[in-house]
Amino acid sequence: MNGVLAPVIEPGFFSSSPVHVALLVGGVVAVVSGIVGMFTVVRGQSYAGHALADLSVTGGSGSVLIGISPLWGFAGTSVAAAGIMDLIGVQRPRGRDLATGIVRGAGLGLAALLLYWDTTHTSTTGATITILFGSMFTIDPSVIGIVAAFSVAAVGIVAALYRPLLLSSVSSDLAIVRGVRPRLAGALCLIAIALATSLSALTIGAILSTALLVGPAAAALRLTARPGLVLAWSALIGLVATWLGILLAYDSYYWPPKGHGWPVSFFVVFLILIFYLLTQARRGRDARRPTAAAAEG
């Protein structure tokens, strides 16, 4: 098998332990993001997701300063921000963008200061790049336990609230009449989104994390109308993009000029874009056949 794949997979890929950690953590995070991502897109909270990701920069850069894993900082600030955004009206469409924008601006301003201190006051070189753009091959294996816990929490929330969240996305009045509390469900969903963005901030970087959250879900929504299948496709697209991205980044070390690997995040985000464009093209083709949607079944 290695013989056949030799031109595709460069030597040492399967025996490198940073690669193992990257495949494991990156894979788990991609699946979590794909699943939580569907609810982010369906509930129209992509912008809130972006803001949470930006705010996780603040926590991540703070973590480096005090010497703990950035994952704690990412999750700490984005969950706190989710709470603040919920309190100041993220549930109302008009209040939402304003509230989100204000909190986001303040958080990024603080991040600018913290990142400056990171580079001037600590010995951590490249902290800025790691936090903003991720560093899949330098993930400390000791965070695997936290990654697992956050993943279970995020997926647990949206799996438990699967039906209430879908119903609230149709109409909050319909949901209330059915006995759902849309406000509570929405707040919990925002926490799941915050956890998912902090996880992907760890792998592909805080700035890029919403690409993994929103991209695979948006592509999957074009493939099927069945909510369960959307979750499966979304997780699969995220997983394939991440694993293929890791492979290409590993291989790129051997590309000319030799010895300078390209960042994993670049490949992951680019692959997600390609998947999205492919599904977009497919949807365009279906739209020209009007009977296709009604016949699905």
Partner: protein
């Protein structure tokens, strides 16, 4: 007046009792001492112009808004609700059958496992609203009339005793309008469900309506249609002279000149309809 907020048992021939309900929103009295009741299987039209308080009244009955005075009593069989036009993004991953299924268990936690009996019940409900062929279509891609039927199925699948519909005929073409009215009348009759349907135009409902609740300026008059839709009753309700005019089996309520001649100022017959 004194208000009794204790829930009282309804007699078996009452599905809904609205008892002296007054509602204030933002300091303004939107509904004043509204009272009427609905019997099982009755088809009742809630008629009034835009801003008369129809949606407010429906939201009070649903428990979505508090009353300032009076109370609402609903039979134990519960309420099904079809809200005013829902804007559904075509991307929302819900097929017609998924939305109908959420009417059954949308409040439950966890991901539903495939269940033959649940599927069968959804199929039956879709068939009952003549939408079996739409089962696999995305809800966001359906026409207004088709979405209306799916929402009716969503509201009915939990077998409520009372179905509330907020302006279900708005934005429908005449053919879909007649279809939806005929469908609702058939369901009310076959399943002995009471229907309370709001509309700004009573005419599409005249053939099927058992009784009318007419709202104007936050006040209501209710009873058999021919008792309520009369010049004297509605003029009193509006607090100004209005004319009730019958033209080719249709009823028009127009503000008249208060000079004893009762002539409408504008041509009373709208073009085309």
């Amino acid at each position: 007046m004194m208000t009794d907020h204790r829930a009282q048992a309804l007699s078996p021939d009452e599905m809904l009792v609205v008892d002296g309900v007054t509602v204030r929103l933002g300091g303004r009295e939107v509904l004043h001492d509204v009272r009427f009741s609905i019997r099982p299987g009755e088809f009742v039209g809630l008629i009034g112009s835009n801003g008369a308080g129809k949606t407010t009244l429906l939201r009070v009955i649903l428990g979505l808004l508090p009353t300032a005075a009076g109370q609402v009593r609903v039979a134990a069989a519960g309420i099904g609700y079809v809200p005013q036009k829902i804007q559904l993004d075509p991307d929302v991953p819900l097929r017609a059958r998924d939305l109908v299924g959420l009417g059954l268990d949308g409040n439950r936690l966890g991901i539903p496992l495939p269940s033959r009996s649940r599927r069968k019940r959804v199929d039956e409900m879709l068939a009952a609203v003549d939408a079996a062929h739409l089962a696999g279509a995305r809800v966001g891609e359906l026409s207004g009339g088709e979405q209306q039927r799916i929402l009716i199925a969503h509201a009915l699948i939990s077998r409520p005793g009372l179905l509330l519909l907020d302006e279900p005929l708005a934005n429908l073409d005449i053919a879909s309008e007649q279809e939806v009215v005929a469908l609702l009348a058939r369901i009310a009759r076959e399943q002995n469900i009471s229907v309370l349907i709001s509309a700004h135009d009573m005419n599409p409902l005249l053939p099927v309506m058992d009784r009318i609740v007419y709202l104007a300026k936050g006040r209501a008059a209710s009873g058999p249609t021919e008792d309520v839709v009369r010049t004297e009753v509605l003029s009193k309700l509006y607090g100004q002279h209005v004319d009730v005019i019958h033209v080719h089996g249709r009823v028009l309520v127009v503000a008249g000149r208060d000079d004893g001649l009762n002539l409408p100022e504008e041509p009373a017959i709208p073009a085309a309809r």
